[in-house]
Every structure is written in structure tokens, then in C-alpha cells.
């Protein structure tokens, strides 16, 4: 195996599992460390620069970082990264707007149109406004936020939190055109914008049109996302006592919990496949179960049952999981007779679809057979060079943080495009390595890693929250609990850097390493090396760091998998061949060289 090239910023970036897993690559350990130092506003700004909506994401993010968190591999549960983000948002200095980038009064003469006021478009605006672009933002709703406003229930995301962070961007001088639905791409193209960004989401909820009784039961059957929007905008104020929610994703969880708040006393979630295969985040499933909502898995809907013109229930067949040709589990009928569940209303949360009825077939934009725009995944540019897509509109339904990541990339592309540069010649990430040693066993970061269980987030009493859909359930960490949780972070951005020429092979690092990560052995292929290390190195996604050879001809091989970044290797190294260096990786943004 060749020595690891630690000059390549992506190597150490990958070691920071949380940041690497985050679509927007937020420097998670950096802001968690700031929280542990009670620098909440600084922590907020680290987030804001990277993911634009810290207060919102601190409540409703899909958290791809948490399953990746190294703490979850050395202990039962990962660091509560998402809730710490909320902590810094809750405790930030509200006067922080003076830290936002200045908006040039003299514009650069380029006009950009953003279609849809969701997270992707808002991110594009946030990135391009400071560069002097003139931006027109169009949305059919009366306010900004997109599906964050229309579909996320207030008990998870209070409206003022959303409004504040959306307004941070709109207040930069974005020309908003709310209550303005774009009906024709060709008309828009004719307006002479230098670039157009489409961030219209995946606005159409899937239906089950072919199930018997669908039409007759019309009054009592709703499309989940439309129903949620109806609740949020005040058109829907009540629901029947017995509600069946069909679907196993996060929308289903929002639907069932909202139904409980509107008078549904017997709410059930019906899932076609197995519980373990559900798409909803585990914590959202838990929250639903905590509100007395049973999740009934292995039940596929077959019929809406209508009596005297009214919906009275649904029939399901039991399913069991059968592996298909590709080895994936599919729900198949178990061959028993249908089961009847009575209900007053049904909410369908069985997926979302993209829909671009306003883009004419001859507008010059190619679509895939699945109805998605043909895009270069790196630049997000469509077949019509000045039209870009992002968010759910680009590759189908994902999540907010992915939309933000798309927004950043689209902003880079639009900026390069407007400056007449190649879209493939993208700016590099900003990186910095900084030594952490202060003195003998004195480090710039908290390296005393202890076994600490994940702190629970306090919640309002169920009896209260079920009565008022506007009451936020989670109260968020207070500063003290948040501090304890922030110290669970293993500082994976503080890298172990090894310099073979200084090593005297005393084995001190090998001996002291609590996790048996470090080895001095004869070189081999990576596959073969993995079989010879002190501790099993079976997680192929986790890199081996190879350096050397050292004087005896052996090489240093470190399995990054469960390294605690505790600094003991550097502390016990007599020659400073090991160093602890903080690696700050900031993803490139528009306008950077």
C-alpha cells in the first residue's frame, strides 16, 4: 500500500465522519467546540456560513451526520449534533446580523431569477447577494420558506424560527415576488435573466388512484402534504377521531402527529413493509410512538371501504418480506384474507413526485424518462445552459440539508457562468492545519474523552402539546446540558499527523493508544494489511493511514475507525513524530478563488 497523501484535503476531511457525511460539509466539530466554550454566536456563524438555516436545521434536519458520528462506534449513541446546533441558535446574540457579509450597493449588472422560495433558492440568494447580483425570487406562497413553511408542523418548527432565518436572506435586498406563480418557462426566459435557478421542490403528493373506493371516499381521503399545508395555513382545523396514515416516511410521522393534535384520538400508521425498513428517521418514529400512535407494519392497503357514501375503513393484506433478485427485501402478500381497520379519515403519505407543468416541452430543457431534468450532477446545469436546478426539483425528494448543498453548488455554477468561466473549474475548499500543542500534556482542545451517555432533550408534557399544534414539543438543551453533550464530541477534526523521519520506534504510541489503532508492521496490500493489524480493521469505509517506512523498514499503519483523537500518541511520543493538528475544512462557496 502506498503512503497516504495527507496533502490531499479530502483525506482528513473523510476522517471527520460527521462533516464528510453532511451534504453541505458543515464543520461540525468546530462549532461543537465553540459551543463547549459557550461561544454560541460564533458557533451559529460557523453553521450559518455553511448550512444557512441553523435554527431550522437544528430542529428538523435529517441528520446524516449522526449515524456517521464516531462516538456512535465507540459508544451506544452518537453525539446529539442536531440538537447542539439548535442550542447555539437558541443562545446566539440576536445582533449578529452585523456579521453577515456586506451587500454591495453597486450591483454587478447580472440578474438572476430564483423560482421557488425554499431552502435551495434561498441558499443561492444568500451566496450570490454579497457578490453584487440582482435577484428576483418568485413563489406562489405569501411568504418565503417553501416546503419548510407549508409542510413542517409548527410543533416541530415554530413559524418565528423559520421566518427569522428566511428574512436574514430576504433582507439582503432580494426582490421578492410572492403570491406569484410562474406559469411559463418560456415567458420567464424571455425576460432576459442572466441565469435562472429552479428550486420548486417535489410538490405533488402521490395518490393511490387505483385502489377500489378511492373516488367514492373522496371526502375522507387526503394527500398528506396537501393536508399538512392545509393545517398550517388554517384551512383544516379538525380531523375525525379515527385516522389511518398510510406510509412509512417522515411525512407520515408529521401527518399522524398533526392528526393527534386536531382531535384524532385513535391514529394509526399503516406501513406496507417491515418496521426496520421504514424510511422515517428513527427519532421521528419514536416521537410518534410516544404520542400513542401505533405503527402497524407489514400491511399493504387493498381497498377503501365505503358504506352509505361514507368512508368507514380500509382493508389491508398482511405482507411478509421476501428478498427480490437484487437481494433487497420486498413486501409480498402473505396469502391470508384481508384485514379491516375502521376509520373516519385517511391520510396518504406514500411519496412525493416532481412536477414541472410550467416548463414547456419546447423550452429547451431536456427531461429524463422519470420526469426529472437532465443535469450535470456536479454543476446542476440543465441542457439549457442558463437554467440550473437544485433541491428536490433536481434529483427528486431528499431533504433540507441536501437542498442547501445544491444551493451552494448552483451559486458557484451561476457565478462562474455569469463571469464566462468554465463551470468545471470550481473553487477549491479552504483548508487549514493548526498545531494543538500548548505544552506538556496541555492541548488547545478537550482531549479527555470519557464514557458519557447521550443527553436527552427535554420535552413539554404530552397532555399539553397534544392540545395545541403550535406548541413546540422539544424544549432544546439548556446551556448546562448542552455543554455536557458538546464534550461528547471526539474532535475528529484534530488530526493525528505522523512524520516517519522523526520516529525512533519506541512503540510508546502503540502501547498507549486506548483503541489499539496504531501498528508498525511490514507493508503489504491494503486488503492484506487489514488482516494483520492489532485490532480487527473490518470497516472498509474507514481509511488506513499509512506512513513511512521508518528506520527499521516497517511502516506505520493507523486504522482511523475508532481513533478517539485523544492525543495520547502525541503526548507519549518522545520525538514529536506524532502531532495533533486541527484540520479546518470549509467547502468552497461562490465567488471564492
Amino acid at each position: 500500500m502506498k503512503p497516504t497523501n495527507i496533502e490531499d484535503p479530502e483525506y482528513f476531511h473523510k476522517v471527520i465522519d460527521c462533516q464528510f457525511a453532511c451534504p453541505a460539509h458543515t464543520p461540525v466539530p468546530e462549532y461543537i467546540r465553540l459551543i463547549s466554550e459557550k461561544q454560541y454566536t460564533d458557533a451559529y456563524m460557523v453553521n450559518w456560513v455553511s448550512n444557512v438555516f441553523p435554527g431550522i436545521l437544528g430542529r428538523v434536519c435529517d441528520r446524516p451526520c449522526e449515524p456517521a458520528c464516531r462516538r456512535g462506534r465507540v459508544e451506544k449513541e452518537p453525539v446529539a449534533i442536531c440538537r447542539l446546533k439548535r442550542l447555539c441558535a437558541d443562545n446566539r446574540n440576536l445582533g449578529l446580523t452585523d456579521r453577515f457579509p456586506a451587500i454591495p450597493t453597486e450591483k454587478n449588472g447580472k440578474k438572476i431569477a430564483l423560482i421557488g422560495a425554499g431552502p435551495a433558492s434561498l441558499t443561492v440568494a444568500r451566496d450570490l447577494m454579497p457578490l453584487g447580483y440582482t435577484i428576483d425570487l418568485y413563489d406562489e406562497q405569501a411568504k418565503g420558506g417553501g416546503f419548510m413553511r407549508s409542510q413542517l408542523p409548527s410543533f416541530r418548527l415554530p413559524e418565528p424560527v423559520l421566518a427569522t432565518e428566511v428574512n436574514y436572506i430576504l433582507d439582503m435586498g432580494v426582490h421578492t415576488h410572492f403570491n406569484h406563480r410562474i406559469e411559463s418557462m418560456k415567458a420567464l426566459l424571455a425576460k432576459g435573466y442572466d441565469a435562472i435557478f429552479v428550486g420548486t421542490g417535489a410538490p405533488r403528493g402521490r395518490d393511490l388512484p387505483d385502489l377500489p373506493g378511492r373516488e367514492a371516499g373522496g371526502q375522507g381521503i387526503h394527500i398528506g402534504i396537501d393536508w399538512l399545508a392545509g393545517v398550517i395555513f388554517g384551512h383544516v382545523t379538525s380531523v375525525g377521531k379515527r385516522v389511518l396514515v398510510i406510509g412509512g416516511g417522515n411525512t407520515a410521522m408529521d401527518c399522524c402527529r398533526t392528526a393527534r393534535r386536531l382531535g384524532g384520538s385513535d391514529v394509526k400508521v399503516m406501513v406496507r413493509g417491515q418496521r426496520s425498513e421504514m424510511k422515517a428517521s428513527p427519532w421521528e418514529i419514536e416521537d410518534a410512538l410516544g404520542e400513542d400512535i401505533p405503527i402497524i407494519d407489514n400491511h399493504a392497503p387493498v381497498e377503501f371501504v365505503i358504506e352509505h357514501g361514507h368512508l368507514v375503513g380500509m382493508r389491508f393484506v398482511r405482507t411478509h418480506a421476501v428478498p427480490d433478485a437484487a437481494g433487497e427485501m420486498r413486501a409480498e402478500s402473505a396469502g391470508e384474507g384481508p384485514v379491516f381497520f375502521p376509520c373516519d379519515e385517511v391520510l396518504l403519505a406514500v411519496g412525493q413526485l416532481n412536477a414541472f407543468p410550467w416548463i414547456e416541452p419546447d423550452a429547451g430543457i431536456q427531461f429524463t424518462p422519470q420526469g426529472l431534468p437532465e443535469l450535470d450532477p456536479r454543476t446542476l446545469q440543465s441542457s439549457l445552459p442558463r437554467v440550473f436546478f437544485g433541491g428536490d426539483a433536481a434529483f427528486g425528494p431528499r431533504n433540507i440539508i441536501t437542498a442547501v448543498a445544491h444551493g451552494h453548488q448552483a451559486a458557484i455554477s451561476i457565478d462562474l457562468f455569469c463571469r464566462g468561466l468554465s463551470l468545471l473549474d470550481r473553487p477549491a475548499p479552504k483548508v487549514n492545519l493548526a498545531g494543538q500543542k500548548m505544552g506538556v500534556h496541555d492541548w488547545l482542545y478537550h482531549n479527555q474523552v470519557a464514557v458519557t451517555e447521550r443527553q436527552a432533550v427535554p420535552v413539554l408534557a404530552k397532555a399539553k402539546t397534544l392540545k395545541d399544534r403550535l406548541l413546540e414539543v422539544e424544549l432544546g438543551f439548556d446551556r448546562q446540558v448542552g455543554q455536557a453533550e458538546s464534550l461528547r464530541c471526539l474532535n475528529c477534526d484534530v488530526q493525528t499527523v505522523f512524520r516517519a523521519e522523526l520516529c525512533i520506534e519506541c512503540d510508546a504510541c502503540v502501547d498507549v493508544c486506548p483503541e489499539s489503532c496504531i501498528n508498525f508492521i511490514d507493508n503489504g496490500t491494503e486488503e492484506e494489511l487489514r488482516t494483520r493489524l492489532k485490532a480487527p480493521a473490518v470497516h472498509l469505509g474507514q481509511s488506513l493511514y499509512l506512513a513511512g517506512p521508518v528506520a527499521s523498514g516497517k511502516v506505520m499503519v493507523k486504522d482511523e475507525n475508532v481513533c478517539l483523537h485523544c492525543s495520547l500518541c502525541a503526548e507519549r511520543c518522545p520525538t514529536s513524530a506524532w502531532e495533533m493538528q486541527k484540520f479546518l475544512y470549509l467547502s468552497a462557496q461562490a465567488g471564492q478563488p
Binding site: 474523552v449 519506541c506 527499521s552
Partner: protein, 350 residues
């Protein structure tokens, strides 16, 4: 000095045959200088005990005074221990061994503790062939008093300050072979691949097992001209052989090419398989072993590995014909039998 070590251990490391985890053999955090060879030896002891699946509470660790002798605090925290007066560890170990022969005795000493103040104690413990593993962490200097040469420093070796050692050095391995130790080996703290199996074999051998481990003092004796530096030892050492210890429960599976194999069966039916060149000396021959040591010394080479084994050596208890039961388990009734027994003994002499 490090004062905090996380308690996390690699989640996928399996336990040993007795169900213990490696951390069950660990001790406190080392207070030795960063890079000290002694830390490496401590870890080799931990590894060897872990691999042998010794119950930690059956081990007694003994030491005297010095950097080496404080190291038992850094391994086997769940074992018995005694930190004796300077150089007197062999006497304390003898007493303990007399009281309870069923335990496993591990003595840790340094070159000062053994070759200077404790020389007489060491020699007589070897003569008695006390059933213990005696490890010397040999750095050729007095680390606790700023690095003066010890009695094992090689003649001609140069210290960090530039002074040359003019005195003859004591070769503890040669002495141990001469005085009747049944298992004698030399190793290097920076070579765990060799050291761990040596410690395992030393623990399996009945009678006195002696391992002299060259253990560089990073603070006072690790300059390139010192013959006890990491650099020098790596450049100037030659192994007698490579070997595996096959504990008696296991069957032999490994096959090596090219070398001849010498098998030495130990008291507990463990087997040492030595892989060596066909013209290498026989390690069960005392005279050949000493010649071999001297030959290599003359070439300026440090000979490491198993130097000598006498699988038939008799330990103190055999020599003294003590009873099979540990002496500490003998109660008054055992020690002061009634008159009938006396009668029987007297009758036997009539």
C-alpha cells in the same frame, strides 16, 4: 507525564480463552518518560499474560526500587504485588513463593536493582532456581539519578554528555546460565514480536526464567553512541532463532521452511519450537550457550532470543522437598500432629 487515559477500548477486540479482555491485564497510567523502553516491556507483559489467559488474580508481581521497579504499577492492576526495598526483591519473592507455591511469580527489576545493590540477592535466587520469571529492564544507566552508568553499561559506550564507560560490564545472562537458571533469554523492548513469546515461554518454564530486556532510557541514554540506545540495538542485534511457544492445550499447526526445528518440552507440557539455522548451537547445552554469547560479543553483536533452556531443571521446592500443599495452607493440626504420629515415626527408627 500523562495523567488521563480514556477507558474506551477497541469494541471488536475479542476476549482470550479464559474470557478476560486485554484491559483486565492493564494497570495504571505510566509516569515514566515518554518513549521509555520500560513502557513497552510492560505492554509486552500485558500481552503475554492476556495471550496465555492467566487469571490476573493468580499472578504476583514483585519489584525493588528504580524506574523499572515502579513499572508493576502499570500492568496487571488486578494481581498481587509487592514493591520491596532496593535490590531485595529476590528475597521477598522467595518468601512469597515458599508461602504459596501455587501462584505465578513475576519479578521486575532494573540493572541497578539487580546488577549493583541487588547482585547477591539475584545470584542466590538463581542458584535456588526459584520458580519465577525474573525480568530485568536493562537501560545501562541510573535513570532516577540523572543517568550515571550502571554495572551493565558496556565498556566503551558513550553517554549523552560524552563520557566513555571505562568499567567492565556485567552480562546478567551469562551469570544466570552459569548459576543454573533453566531458561535464559535476552530481548529488546522495541521488538515485541520477539519479547511477547519469550515472556510467555518464561512464564511456562518451571524454575527460574531470566529475561534481560535491553530497554533504552530515552532521557539519559539514547544517544547514537550508546550501546543501549534504540538506534544501536536495532543496528547491532542478531536473533538466535525465531520461535513459538505452544501452550500444552494446543496442537501444533505452523510449518516453517528452510530452518531446522528444535523442540523443547517444558514442565507443564508446553512446547517451544525453535526455528534456527542448522549450524546454530544447541540451546540446551550450557557451554555452547555461553560460547555463543561470547562469540557474538566479540563481534560487537548483541545476541537476542532464547539463549539457554534446561527443561529438566529442578526448582526450589523440588530441591528442598517441600510438601505439595502451599505452606500458608498448613494449619496447626498439619504442623503439630498428635502423639500417635510421633510414635509411628519413632517406631520406624527402632
Amino acid at each position: 507525564m500523562t495523567f488521563f487515559r480514556p477507558t474506551f477500548r477497541h469494541p471488536e477486540l475479542p476476549p482470550n480463552a479464559a474470557g478476560y479482555r486485554r484491559q483486565d491485564y492493564e494497570g495504571g497510567i505510566s509516569t515514566l518518560c515518554a518513549g521509555c523502553g520500560h513502557d513497552s516491556i510492560c505492554n509486552a507483559i500485558i500481552q503475554a499474560c492476556f495471550e496465555l489467559a492467566l487469571p490476573p488474580h493468580r499472578v504476583v508481581k514483585m519489584s525493588g526500587i528504580g524506574c523499572s521497579s515502579k513499572s508493576p504499577a502499570y500492568f496487571l492492576a488486578k494481581s498481587h504485588g509487592f514493591n520491596s526495598v532496593h535490590g531485595r526483591m529476590p528475597s521477598i519473592a522467595t518468601g512469597a513463593n515458599m508461602a504459596n507455591r501455587d501462584l505465578i511469580y513475576l519479578g521486575v527489576s532494573g540493572d541497578g536493582d539487580t546488577a549493583s545493590i541487588g547482585m547477591g540477592q539475584f545470584m542466590h535466587a538463581v542458584r535456588r532456581n526459584l520458580d519465577m520469571l525474573y525480568i530485568v529492564m536493562n537501560n545501562g544507566c541510573y535513570g532516577l539519578t540523572k543517568g550515571q552508568y550502571s554495572a551493565t553499561a558496556d565498556k566503551g559506550s558513550k553517554s549523552k554528555k560524552g563520557g566513555i564507560n571505562e568499567l567492565e560490564s556485567i552480562d546478567l545472562c551469562e551469570l544466570a546460565i552459569q548459576l543454573g537458571a533453566g531458561f535464559v533469554a535476552r530481548s529488546f523492548s522495541g521488538d515485541k514480536q520477539q519479547l511477547v513469546p519469550l515472556i510467555k515461554a518464561g512464564l511456562a518454564h518451571k524454575g527460574l526464567s531470566f529475561i534481560d530486556v535491553i530497554s533504552p532510557c530515552v532521557t539519559f541514554n539514547n544517544n547514537p553512541e550508546s550501546t543501549k540506545s534504540y538506534h544501536w540495538v536495532r543496528e547491532h542485534s542478531e536473533a538466535t532463532n525465531t520461535f513459538d511457544l505452544v501452550p500444552f492445550q494446543q496442537t501444533i499447526t505452523a510449518e516453517y521452511d528452510g530452518d531446522t526445528v528444535q523442540e523443547v518440552a517444558l514442565h507443564d507440557n508446553s512446547v517451544i519450537h525453535l526455528h534456527k539455522h542448522h549450524d546454530a548451537p544447541d540451546i540446551t547445552d550450557r557451554r555452547q550457550a555461553i560460547d555463543n554469547l561470547e562469540d557474538h560479543k566479540a563481534q560487537g553483536v548483541i545476541l537476542t532470543g532464547v539463549l539457554y533452556i534446561n527443561p529438566d531443571s529442578a526448582d526450589t521446592h523440588e530441591i528442598l522437598h517441600t510438601c505439595e500443599r502451599p505452606l500458608n495452607s498448613l494449619a496447626e493440626a498439619d504442623l503439630c500432629p498428635d502423639g500417635q504420629i510421633l510414635e509411628a515415626i519413632n517406631a520406624a527408627h527402632r
